[in-house]
Amino acid sequence: MCRPTGEGVPTGTVIAMTETAVRTETAIGVRDLRVRYGGFEAVRGVDLEVRRGEVFALLGTNGAGKTTTLEVLEGFRARSAGEVSVLGLDPGRERHLLRERMGIQLQEGGFVDELTVGETLELWGRLSPREDRVARLLDRFDLVPRRDVRVSALSGGEKRRLDLATAVWGSPELVVLDEPTTGLDPAARRRTWDAIQELQDGGRTVVLTTHYLEEAEALADRVAIMHEGRVAVAGSLAEILASRPSSFSATLPAGVAPPRGLDGPEVLVHTDDLQRDLTAFLGWAADRGVTLTDLRAAPASLADIYLSIRSEEK
């Protein structure tokens, strides 16, 4: 059986390492990272900084270089150029030290189909440098009723939960999650968010990739959006949103000409000063007795930014 301890309390060895690593506030530092596959450069000069204790989201289109970047951070892929430091270690040369402090969820499961859920977690416990309890993780990820079910019989969502359970085994200092909620139903996705939030509350650093922008908005302290091997935008959500214009829109009645410089009848305005320009627009409508329909105003969203980056690159 697995070595029983308190709820995810790391071993003394890990605690000692943690104290050493706490000296720096930077959990991950990446400078001018480049990765080439033959003649193709998948990652083209990426700079990243992930601070200790934060949730950092790496966004991007398919093929943007997110997974390749993560694989370099995990020590599974050699970099062609650049500097990478993870918890003060070089993942390329010190992966054996890093994996004692890092939990990883891959984009795809990679479990043995013939083992049961319970056996998978028990085996993981014996292979892990950290200590935890199978029962705690089964309970945490709603897998108790599936304990004696073979992995081959699990649904996609259950496999993702099992995957996450192994990644957070023993509450590692750094958890890297590659699309942790892909394929999950809304309830399971919410539970995964809760688990990630718990990790952060416990002082852990979390790096995740996701295609779900609302997930990044809900979980991440800071985000980076990658496109075609580069980081197009990075920073806190507030910083990124503030750097992009807000917008308002409305539909004019048929036959009403829009204000000068705008198209109608569906008016869309991007602005750096939402209050000023919206007030002016509403004043224009009031002066003319125009009844607006579908009036909406909103600050820039992550989705707007994401889409604008894609269109700018095109």
């Binding site: 599974f76 993981w124 014996r126 292979l127």
Partner: protein, 237 residues
């Protein structure tokens, strides 16, 4: 070490859960080995029977089975996943291959018991047989790692393992009958051929040659270097 043992136990359990793997790993080589003992393969001398038993258990029981296991584990991303745990890369490969090696060793012991029980002549010098078993073990384990390099799927392993398997069996059979003279000495350089010639030496049918040892050392080193340089952990191209 505890991690390697834990994963080895888990892999061993999986062999007994999968009937197809159990048959190919245990039943087929065991059955063939017993068949050779019962029918007195070839001239009925101990050398040819022991050579074939070694070739079957090492070739089918370890080489083919280990290649299939490695490729299957890579194909379904188990190797990649387990690399994120605390086990070392060497430990992971060792634990993945160890169960078929353990079963093969058990089969060799069974063959020895059966051979004695059926009145097969006892080798005049058992040391060459031990050398053949140990050297052969190193050969097939490293060959499995090297073959996994060029094998994309578990199904394809049934094809990619055939050339070396037949070369090994063919070389072992030929040299089990021939005295080590002239061209026969050179044939020892064929991977696996010393299994036959060393069995022959054990029964006094031939003299010992350093070429046998050289062959059992050089091929594992070459296969090992090939695997070390080119082994892939990820199914992705």
């Amino acid at each position: 070490m505890n991690r390697v043992l834990a994963l080895t136990r888990s892999e061993l359990r999986l062999i007994f859960r999968n009937k197809t793997v159990l048959i190919s790993t245990l039943a087929v080589p065991l059955g063939l080995g017993l068949f050779f003992a019962l029918t007195g393969f070839g001239d009925g001398s101990g050398a040819s029977i022991i050579a074939m038993q070694l070739a079957m258990v090492l070739g089918l029981g370890i080489y083919v089975a280990a290649t299939q296991t490695l490729v299957a584990r890579r194909q379904n991303l188990v190797l990649k996943r387990l690399r994120t745990s605390g086990i070392s890369d060497a430990g992971l490969l060792t634990a993945t291959i160890a169960p078929v090696v353990v079963l093969a060793v058990v089969q060799m012991v069974l063959f020895a018991v059966v051979d004695v029980a059926f009145g097969l002549p006892v080798p005049t010098s058992p040391l060459p047989v031990v050398l053949a078993a140990v050297g052969g073990l190193a050969l097939v384990v490293t060959a499995a790692l090297a073959t996994a390099v060029v094998t994309p799927t578990a199904e394809r392993a049934q094809i990619t393992t055939l050339p070396l398997f037949f070369v090994m069996v063919g070389g072992a059979v030929v040299l089990a009958f021939l005295p080590l003279e002239g061209i026969a000495t050179v044939v020892n350089l064929v991977p696996g051929a010393p299994l036959g010639s060393l069995a022959n030496v054990a029964y006094g049918g031939s003299a010992f040659s350093p070429v046998q040892v050289a062959s059992l050392v050089v091929w594992p080193v070459l296969f090992g270097l090939l695997a070390k340089r080119h082994f892939r952990w990820d199914a992705r191209a």
